[in-house]
């Protein structure tokens, strides 16, 4: 066991590299997924069949096919058509498209949950569509979608471990190498679990902060206690206090 620990300590620089690669994939994938989600989420809502149709097809395709197969296809098949990408770019692209398809449903649902009266008030103030979305609708939908996006972000992090199979030297790679060096399966995979857990925990914490901030901008948040801020449990929604209004939004 002490030998194992010594090996692990020796391999900490390698762990830093692995974490960096995992974070690059996770954050890069998340940013791309968010762009994909917003485009497809709004695309799925439009009246025009020429926009809505393709949006639905893309969403169903990327949700309905395996992430591993997508990774392999982009990495091994696409070069045969003359498009060769670096492994990291392939991972970011596959993660972004796959989780973006899931997240687009979150975006679509959250946008739909913003009361119709908000769109109408924005029309009455003669805003353009983009202005309505950017300044009125999205900020409200954003507060609703963060908890669900946080789930997807954690899944995306864990999904990124598959990139080991397309030669990326991420945390998963480091774990496998540690097992090779120590010949101790229990020890090395437990270490791998813990590393992923710590990253997931930090991401969850960051998303909780984002959620708190978004809610506070809607006048619904309160300052979180340290325990709440560091805790993993999402905080309860606070009902708006509008005592005199009946049926107020």
């Amino acid at each position: 066991m002490s030998d194992d620990l010594q090996t692990l300590v020796d391999r900490l620089p390698g762990l830093a590299d692995g974490v960096l690669v995992t974070l690059q994939m996770t954050l890069g994938g998340a940013v791309l997924a968010m762009v994909v989600a917003v485009v497809l989420g709004f695309g799925s809502r439009t009246q025009s069949l020429w926009v809505r149709g393709p949006s639905r097809v893309v969403v169903e395709f990327f949700r309905g096919t395996s992430l591993v197969v997508q990774l392999f296809w982009l990495f091994y098949v696409l070069p045969q058509f003359g498009f060769k990408m670096e492994a990291l770019a392939v991972a970011v692209l596959a993660l972004g498209l796959n989780y973006g398809a899931y997240a687009s449903e979150v975006v679509r649902g959250s946008i739909a949950s913003v009361p119709k009266g908000q769109w109408e008030a924005a029309t009455a103030l003669n805003m353009t569509w983009l202005h309505k979305v950017r300044r009125v609708i999205f900020p409200q939908a954003w507060a609703l979608m963060i908890p669900m996006l946080a789930n997807l972000l954690i899944q995306l992090l864990k999904g990124s471990a598959l990139a080991y199979y397309i030669t990326l030297q991420d945390v998963n790679f480091w774990t496998v190498e540690l097992r090779r060096a120590t010949a101790d399966t229990i020890f090395s995979y437990t270490a791998g679990l813990l590393v992923y857990f710590v990253i997931a925990y930090l991401l969850t914490w960051g998303m909780n902060l984002l959620e708190e901030r978004a809610k506070r901008r809607l006048g619904r948040g309160t300052r979180p206690s340290l325990r709440e801020a560091f805790g993993l449990k999402p905080r309860a929604m606070y009902a708006p206090k509008v005592p005199e209004a009946r049926g107020a939004i």
């Binding site: 009266g117 809607l218 619904r220 209004a245 049926g247």
Partner: protein, 262 residues
């Protein structure tokens, strides 16, 4: 305004048709509102009053006919014989003259009171921020909400939210103001505050107003003309005194009796 006030009606409905699926709400409706007039629309629910306001705010699409604002085609026009929709870019030019206050206030919860008011003056009318803030403060003072300037909207009561919503609509300098049952969601003791604000606006501006309301006393005080609607048609049209004391149509008599509890 391109012409002398009074020349061209502020609002003109020509053979307006509005259908929701198989349900025809407005069937070839014609009426016009002269510049600066205050018109109250009354009638049972489902008679098409709110639909008229929503058509004027482009929240619903016409099924047929024309709506003219100051004589300009608004949402649809005839190109030769063909009835076509006016593109959004041109609709926006005309829409700038129209403002609306809603039953449910519809303030933006992601903005403060002040931000709600200056958002469109700054980004749509392209006013400078300083000018927009100065205008907003003047309007907040007018509606008695100055101290709540930096509050979040859900920290306000319903009546306060509605007063902010009125200020927000006025900040766009509308020529036409649409008021859609603006006191219906409020508790009775708050209603008077909101009506006071509206009364002052009616007294101090020459904005053309279209009101849908169940506040008959208020309608009587501020309107120049009252239109009684039933099944998408105007069944009676009169000055408020006549309408409320001596309506001629039996449908109006029955409606007012039911509403006023007399």
């Amino acid at each position: 305004m391109t012409t002398t006030p009074g020349d061209v009606p502020a609002i003109e409905f020509q053979d307006v048709v509005k259908r929701f699926g198989d349900n025809t709400v407005l069937d070839r409706l014609n009426f016009s509102v002269p510049q600066g007039q205050r018109i109250t629309l009354i009638g049972p629910s489902g008679s098409g009053k709110t639909t008229i306001l929503r058509l004027l705010m482009t929240l619903e699409e016409l099924s047929g006919g024309l709506i003219l604002i100051d004589g300009d085609p608004y949402t649809h026009e005839y190109k030769g014989e063909k009835w076509v929709a006016v593109p959004e870019r041109r609709r926006r030019v005309v829409r700038n003259r129209v403002g609306m206050v809603f039953q449910q206030f519809n303030l933006f919860p992601n903005m403060s009171v002040l931000e709600n008011i200056i958002e469109s003056p700054v980004h749509v009318l392209k006013k400078s921020k300083d000018e927009a803030v100065a205008d907003a403060e003047r309007l907040l003072d007018k509606v008695g909400m100055s101290e709540k300037r930096d509050f979040k909207t859900n920290e306000l009561s319903g009546g306060q939210q509605q007063r902010v919503a009125i200020a927000r609509a006025l900040a766009m300098d509308p020529e036409i103001l649409l008021l859609d049952e603006v006191t219906s969601a409020l508790d009775p003791e708050i209603v008077a505050d909101v009506l006071d604000v509206l009364r002052e606006i009616a007294d101090t501006t020459d904005i053309t107003m279209l009101l849908v309301t169940h506040e008959m006393q208020f309608a009587r005080e501020v309107s120049d003309r009252v239109l009684m609607f039933d099944k998408g048609q105007i069944v009676e049209e009169a000055d408020p005194e006549t309408m409320f004391t001596n309506p001629s149509h039996e449908r109006t008599q029955a409606f007012l009796k039911a509403v006023l509890g007399g």
